[in-house]
Symmetry: C2
Subunit: 355 residues, 2 copies
DNA sequence: TTTTGCACTCTTACCGTGAGAGTGCTAAAT
DNA sequence: ATTTAGCACTCTCACGGTAAGAGTGCAAAA
């Protein structure tokens, strides 16, 4: 399996077979142990019978093309971002996971719980088996169907709204009201709303509420009026800010190239602010299959030296969200990619079986 | 305001006034800039007209008593854990917060929302104004009153249970059932349970359910049976593991004495596992007022070089949980202590006003 | 086109040195 | 009996020099 290219600046045919082979070897070597790779090492490791000098020439060419880089005169070479791109898009062959691993993932995801917990668990699992940071976005709820709405009076002017969305997502909100509502009013209101809106998606419901409000001037049953008053607040778009779950951040502290407190702090802060990471993830929500962001390619400089491997997850062909893994550019892509891929699929299945 | 002592190994009267004065000065100096403090510096900074040599003698005595420590021969002195203890318990005078600060805290806490969000917000605020890590435990729910229970059918064998506890805490659980329940069955069951158990605390309810189960053999109305079946699962004790909210961990990355990736990793991991931290916090749940844990005093070696300042928060005289701040032993106690103190009180007020 | 040989560069670890900071001790001063 | 001055001592830290090692690039030979 070879990944489809995202941006193809390099013409594969322009590069001799042998150079590509050596390049691939070099990247693999570097991913393995993080040290710049020199010509001697490479000569020893390949079955091509070549002298270090020849390999030096090849490496010089590759450097010219912008695929490699020397930290300094007498260090070996290290892949550039462009180099990683080429490697990942055209050279890498991922291993299929063995059955035991697949089994393990399936096992981990099959428990029957609400969606939030399931996603949390997925994130944990991703970080555990990759030893990197796992990330899973919560689904946008707009396009999903309301299953049930319920009101509970908390105090004179505070009402708890419970929205059940799509059979497995539960959302609680508290709304403040201008007057006291009796339990039976609330009961009737929720009956009315459930009858009218259950099964519709939230965006539609919001629109529906507005049109009801207009009609209300004319013929107003008391029940309807209460219901609509409630609903107006209850269905307000709320950006919880709680848009993804992250796990295993501490795994990143083991990675040598990120092992600088300043850098780590910036990275962790951007995890907390969520904004940048969210932007990045949104970019991949409509990609088919696994997508890979390398280093600051995407323009977020906190992600310097980091790669993000993502895949959307879906139920019934509808994309709900994105999951993936954040780690150093120097990660074992051939292992991480299929893990992300399979996990996304399994999560889709797990969510589907809940209906 | 002087804090009451927790363990008093040092007899204050055994130490000359002057030594105490110098000791206090030294600790304050060290807290200020983190460098070991030498005799010259101290001689310069005090208004006592003493030569460095005299001060050296005093310092030697203090070291003898185990209050100070020299990193090496020709460094200045640094407080030991025992030294901090003395400082915090007997020497420190905390500044009252100025009105602007109190105002700010009140402002931050007065929004009317559910308890979980309020606690999250409190934690954030603590970390923001102290520039350290803020922590707030979620209340143990056993002793609190059930306000309302509600069942929603999700699919044939899955039912959503919504528990409203104490007017402001909401808990969702999903339970699996052996057979299909109709909506009206669920409705009747919840009516029954609400009528029977609303206002009682969860522990009592669990006990009540057991005794109902026994009685059931005799006279069984269908409704009751359903209700008790549901309730049995619904009120199972669940340790969510989600027992405290932490904020501002990244603030700890600025602290020089923790600025070692290994150490930070251990610390963050213990935050994630929650167990140790929770144990520590539980120790202070029945203390009156602010309590301070210094370094590995409490036996958790991840907290080496860290102090934890806590205070329980309460509503109507009943302690709900604990909040506080985690930072380096070298923190500005005279500022942090009143912040934690006031925040706990304000949080109590904020929670109270919700009823 | 590939290889050999070689000079060159850069990093890293190691060592020795000297300045600076702070100590402890002894003897003198108050 | 304290306090102080004087002084030798110790330890850290920053600096510079050196030598080893790794890897390069280039020119000339194969």
């Amino acid at each position: 399996m070879t990944l489809n290219t995202m941006q193809q600046k390099i013409d594969l045919n322009q590069i001799p077979e042998r150079s590509l082979h050596l390049f691939k070897l070099l990247v693999e070597h570097f991913i393995q142990d993080g040290q710049p790779v020199g010509s001697r090492t490479l000569a020893r490791d390949t079955d091509l019978e070549l002298s270090p000098a020849t390999i030096r020439n090849v490496m010089a060419d590759l450097e010219e093309m912008g695929l490699l880089h020397s930290p300094h005169t007498s260090a070996g070479r290290v892949p550039t971002v462009k180099g990683y791109r080429l490697f990942v898009d055209s050279l890498l062959r991922v291993h299929a996971l063995n059955e035991r691993e697949i089994e393990h993932i399936a096992e981990e995801l099959k428990s029957r719980q609400d969606m939030q917990s399931l996603l949390q668990r997925t994130s944990n699992m991703l970080s555990d088996i990759t030893r990197l940071a796992g990330i899973v976005t919560l689904p946008r709820q707009d396009q999903h169907a309301l299953k049930h709405v319920e009101f509970v009076s908390l105090s004179d002017d505070r009402i708890l709204v419970i929205l059940v969305i799509n059979d497995n997502q539960i959302q609680n909100r508290i709304i403040n009201t201008a007057r006291v509502y009796t339990p039976s009013e609330l009961q009737q209101a929720s009956n009315y709303l459930n009858q009218k809106f259950a099964g519709k998606d939230l965006a539609t419901i919001r629109a529906g509420i507005l049109s009801e409000l207009k009609r209300m001037k004319d013929n107003v049953s008391q029940i309807m009026q209460t219901a609509i008053e409630m609903a107006q607040q209850a269905f307000l778009k709320n950006d919880t800010g709680d848009d993804f779950v992250l796990a295993g951040q501490t795994n990143l502290m083991d990675v040598a190239e990120l092992c600088d407190v300043e850098r780590l702090k910036k990275l962790f802060n951007s995890f907390n602010q969520k904004r940048d990471i969210l932007h990045l993830l949104e970019q991949s929500i409509h990609a088919r299959g696994v997508q890979i962001f390398i280093g600051e390619e995407a323009g977020y400089d906190v992600l310097d030296n980091c790669s993000v491997v993502t895949s959307p997850y879906e139920v019934d062909g509808q994309i709900l969200g994105v999951l993936g893994v954040i780690g150093p550019t120097r990660m074992h892509y051939e292992r991480v990619i299929p893990i992300v891929d399979i996990t996304a699929k399994m999560l889709g299945l797990a969510l589907n079986s809940q209906n």
